[in-house]
């Protein structure tokens, strides 16, 4: 369904928070908060087929209908004028996907493709896509094709014109995060500029989710994974003398809920669900605390509030954000960012004449919290990516944390089942 956005109409299109994150990554080697989707193969695909595909691919329909005009620090954005067509760039890589993720996107290109020996990587700007939307875009590109009449999938939300409602939502959301009555948040201090490091693993999905259901209950994979992550991370926080509550800003996909179309492609169907769990210096918080916090954040409708809130109501422009950061410090970023994409539509599909064995997400982390724990399920695999700012941990400790987390997830049962 094509959404009529109208000439010069405000859209809840690009998220101002995404703009902030992108800006905060402006001085990194990647010069932005972008991410990779990696299609992995058992056998190398024929690279001539890939090159042919992109050579024959016409310019794609606009990422947005209309010209994007961004008012610095005052998103949302405004569309105006004729749609802009988009060119996809493609090339062979002479580096690793991780190095590629640390490069800037070509100017004005929202996504770019590189060929690796047994994988093909697509790099997307987070300003345009979230992980789920990017996967859907690829699926559409490789199965049906993307035509000139492609609906934008933008959310032209009625909330955007209700400033009072937005401000209320923003105030509530901000209060829930920044109350001075709350204890400090345990957090590693992310260096402002450096390259991102990535550690990846694939864990058998069925056994992991069966264990999550056994230990946490049905549909409780998220609190289970968060609990195991905290269990692996706590020794490192404590050895660095860092104590405080655990705060997990979690990204959530609102497609298919309320007025968010289920098949939408673009970024503005994304929201946040911050989960806060009390943690004393001596004991590991129990799994039940994560389950309860996850439930509580939902009961308070935080993802909806965050989605509705305007930039000024939710967060504030860059310089003021800096003042807030200085005042609240790590509280703003949380302990680590968490994301779980529950299923990929691309695994098992034939893309470039070969079946895709696995699909992995490699998102770069913004300075705060500087540590991202990203899960995505692709067929039989639950992929784990630990993405962090180099310098957040000494590199050998970062690797040890990743190995500990991987071991936690591969175990048949948790060592201490303290629900």
């Amino acid at each position: 369904m094509k959404q009529d956005c109208g000439e010069g109409k405000w859209l809840d299109a690009f998220d101002s928070f995404a703009a902030y994150l992108n800006r905060s990554c402006a001085h990194t080697p990647g010069r932005g908060n972008h991410f990779l989707i990696l299609l992995e193969y058992d056998e190398a695909p024929d690279f001539r087929i890939i090159s042919d595909f992109f050579r024959k691919l016409p310019d794609l329909p606009p990422i947005l209908f209309g010209k994007i005009r961004r008012f610095p620090g005052l998103a949302p954005y405004r569309t105006k004028g004729r749609p802009r067509m988009v060119t996809v760039t493609e090339a062979a890589a002479d580096e690793t996907p991780e190095d590629y993720a640390n490069e800037p996107l070509p100017p004005g290109v929202p996504f770019d493709c590189r060929r690796f020996p047994r994988s093909v990587a697509f790099r997307f700007s987070h300003l345009f896509f979230d992980g789920c939307g990017a996967e859907r875009f690829l699926l559409k590109l490789f199965t049906e094709g993307v035509g000139a009449d492609e609906p934008s999938g933008l959310l032209s939300s009625s909330h955007m014109n209700d400033w009072k409602e937005q401000r209320t939502a923003g105030t509530e959301f901000r209060k829930s995060l920044l109350s001075k009555d709350l204890p400090p948040v345990a957090c590693l201090l992310a260096p402002g500029t450096d390259r991102n490091l990535f550690f990846t693993a694939s864990i058998p999905a069925e056994s992991l989710l069966a264990r999550a259901e056994r230990e946490a209950g049905p549909f409780m994979g998220i609190p289970f994974l968060q609990h195991r992550t905290v269990s692996a991370l706590l020794p490192f926080l404590r050895s660095a003398g860092i104590t405080g509550d655990i705060m997990i800003p979690m990204t959530v996909d609102r497609r298919g809920q309320e007025d968010h179309p289920a098949d939408a492609l673009f970024f503005n169907h994304w929201s946040m669900l911050p989960v806060r769990v009390a943690c004393d210096p001596e004991n590991e918080p129990p799994l039940s605390a994560f389950r309860k916090a996850f439930y509580q954040a939902n009961a308070e409708k935080r993802p909806k509030m965050f989605r509705m809130a305007s930039m000024s109501g939710r967060f504030v422009p860059g310089p003021v954000m800096q003042i807030l950061e200085n005042h609240y410090g790590p509280k703003l970023g949380g302990t680590f960012l968490f994301s779980l994409l529950e299923e990929s539509g691309l695994t098992g599909k034939t893309v470039f004449s070969r079946p895709v064995r696995n699909l992995r997400h490699l998102p770069a982390m913004p300075p705060r919290p500087g540590l991202g724990i990203i899960f995505n399920r692709a067929g039989m695999n639950m992929n784990l990516t630990v993405s962090l700012r180099a310098g957040l941990f000494p590199e050998d400790e970062a690797k040890r944390f990743f190995c500990n987390l991987q071991a936690e997830l591969n175990r048949n049962e948790s060592v201490s089942q303290n629900h």
Partner: protein, 84 residues
């Protein structure tokens, strides 16, 4: 409150339609996952259950058997109502 498994099932079906954005017609004899419910949708359903019937399944605990289908969930809610 004179709830029965049938009346609770009906209300759950209506809520599932809302949670899933009206995309599907839920089948009471099928598992929740087959009715378009994922972990976020399940949380919304738990919030609805607590607000509607005062039954906190997060606190009381819930097993795979309780979500085998929508009727089983309705039976679990009824048990929670009676226990309260």
């Amino acid at each position: 409150m004179n709830e029965t498994i049938e009346s609770i099932t009906e209300q759950l079906l209506a809520e599932i339609r809302i949670v899933t954005g009206g995309r599907i017609t839920p089948d009471p004899a099928r598992p929740l996952a087959d009715n378009g419910i994922n972990s976020m949708g399940f949380m919304e359903l738990l919030v609805f259950i607590e607000q509607k019937w005062g039954v906190s399944l997060v606190d009381q605990g819930i097993s795979a058997r309780d979500v085998a289908d929508i009727r089983a969930l309705a039976a679990r809610i009824l048990e929670g109502i009676r226990r309260a």
